[in-house]
């Protein structure tokens, strides 16, 4: 843990806010009055995944916290928890789905993923910006009566259904944009 001035908070840092760890997703300097300087930050809770806005005085002290990442293998979904395994120690770890969000539907079994740890507890996973997934089922579609960009629904190997261009076939590998969970290109 390191104490920093709120004025040096940057996007991507983890800080303690009301005794809980938060990821900083946006920062903005403000100088509303006479001489006061404030630092407005957008925070995403790493425990509840809720978001909040707060403006600190630029000169007040804030605790920056260490969030470590641990490479683990994704095993399976168990109810509302994702089960991971440390490939070296074979120790298993469960991460609540809420901390990962919809993106958990992109996880392929046996995939290596970084799990974020704070205070020895998992607080989320770090996914790449893009992921490659195979198409499990794509029905042939005729684009006869569509206007503009024709799309059809395809099912990926994880069971997730997304919209993809008509030329996509069963067995193709697709590159998926993780943030929007949408088709980018054929891989």
């Amino acid at each position: 843990m390191a104490t920093i001035k709120a004025g040096s908070i940057r996007k991507g840092m983890y800080i303690l806010f009301k005794n809980a760890p938060y990821l900083v997703t946006k920062t903005d300097f403000l100088s509303p009055g006479k001489g006061s300087a404030l630092m407005r930050v957008k925070l995403k809770s790493v425990i509840s995944s809720g978001t909040t806005d707060f403006s600190f005085k630029s000169n007040e002290s804030v605790e920056e916290v260490e969030v470590s990442s641990l490479q683990m293998q994704y095993l399976y979904l168990d109810g509302d928890e994702l089960v991971f395994m440390n490939s070296d120690t074979f120790e298993q770890l469960s991460v609540p789905i809420d901390l990962v969000g919809e993106q958990h539907k992109l996880l392929i079994e046996e995939q290596q993923i970084y799990v974020l740890m704070y205070d020895e507890k998992p607080i989320g996973v770090r996914l790449p910006d893009k992921m490659k997934l195979k198409v499990a089922l794509a029905e042939d579609a005729d684009g006869g009566n569509t206007v503009g960009q024709a799309r059809k629904t395809v099912e990926l190997e994880t069971g997730l259904k997304i919209l993809a261009p008509l030329f996509v076939k069963t067995g193709d590998t697709l590159i998926i944009d993780v943030a929007t969970m949408s088709y980018l290109s054929r891989g």
Partner: protein
């Protein structure tokens, strides 16, 4: 402009650039910005409030007539919502008016609310922090809000309220939580203005900031004014943001500080 008023200019306005050295760049603020200022003689801040309502309605009607306002979601019809600073602190932050006039109690209340209060933390910093965190986002949600009657020390150029000199006749108006203008019933008492400049300099020295040179010509000019005056500065770039539906002030500027100096974030 007050010097021109002292020479008998009558009502005046200007649109000009303002540059504030070392001010931070943000999505709502560029250190160099365009302001529209106007002064009315034989008038006070109530008259300036009316001007603001009419000005925004005028801009709205003009743009609407040209069918340029597709998704404008604010109701600009008069009268706007008006709330005093003391009422706003009570309503949105649950802070009693008395606390605004008792620095020690205000600080211990802020500390109880979870704000960091250290020995060097000033009343003004905490006031601004609470205003930004708990109040501003409630202002101008669906229609403009006028936040009026600031604490007297927060309005060095404004006239004190004769009915309650703890407050000064200053207002700001907000739309969508963003401040668009700052207005006063102008202080035209040259002796009081000089005393306030001197107080301000003492406060700046205490904060370790350089003294401001006192504008003797302004003090001299004020001594010639014997009418009431109201004046305001409106952020033109923020008005453009509002009517064009932009989220970031940078999108309204040809040369934003962030672009020119390649600043990140």
């Amino acid at each position: 402009m007050k010097k021109l008023l002292a020479q008998g200019s009558g009502h005046i306005f200007q649109i000009c650039k303002s540059f504030r050295n070392a001010e931070p760049v943000s999505s709502r603020h560029n250190p160099e910005f365009t302001i529209l200022e106007w002064y009315r003689v034989d008038a006070n801040y109530n008259d300036i409030m009316d001007d603001c309502e009419k000005l925004l309605k005028f801009i709205f009607d003009y743009l609407e007539g040209k069918k340029l306002l597709a998704d404008f979601r604010f109701d600009l019809s008069s009268p706007w919502e008006k709330i005093s600073v003391a009422e706003a602190f009570q309503k949105y932050a649950g802070i009693e008016e008395l606390l605004l006039h008792d620095e020690e109690k205000f600080k211990s209340m802020a500390s109880k609310k979870g704000y960091a209060v250290e020995s060097e933390t000033s009343f003004q910093e905490l006031f601004d922090q609470i205003l930004v965190n708990e109040i501003e986002s409630n202002l101008g949600k669906t229609r403009p809000t006028i936040l009026y009657d600031y604490l007297a020390p927060q309005a060095a150029l404004a006239k004190k309220k004769s009915s309650d000199p703890r407050y000064a006749e200053r207002f700001e108006f907000y739309i969508n939580g963003v401040e668009l203008g700052n207005a006063f019933s102008e202080l035209t008492d040259s002796k009081e203005q000089l005393a306030r400049f001197q107080d301000q300099n003492r406060a700046r020295l205490l904060q370790g900031r350089p003294e401001m040179k006192i504008d003797d010509d302004l003090i001299k000019a004020l001594s010639k004014i014997n009418q009431e005056m109201g004046g305001i500065a409106v952020g033109v770039d923020r008005l453009v943001m509002l009517f064009s539906g932009k989220e970031d002030i940078e999108e309204t500027l040809a040369f934003s500080a962030r672009d020119v100096f390649s600043l990140d974030q």
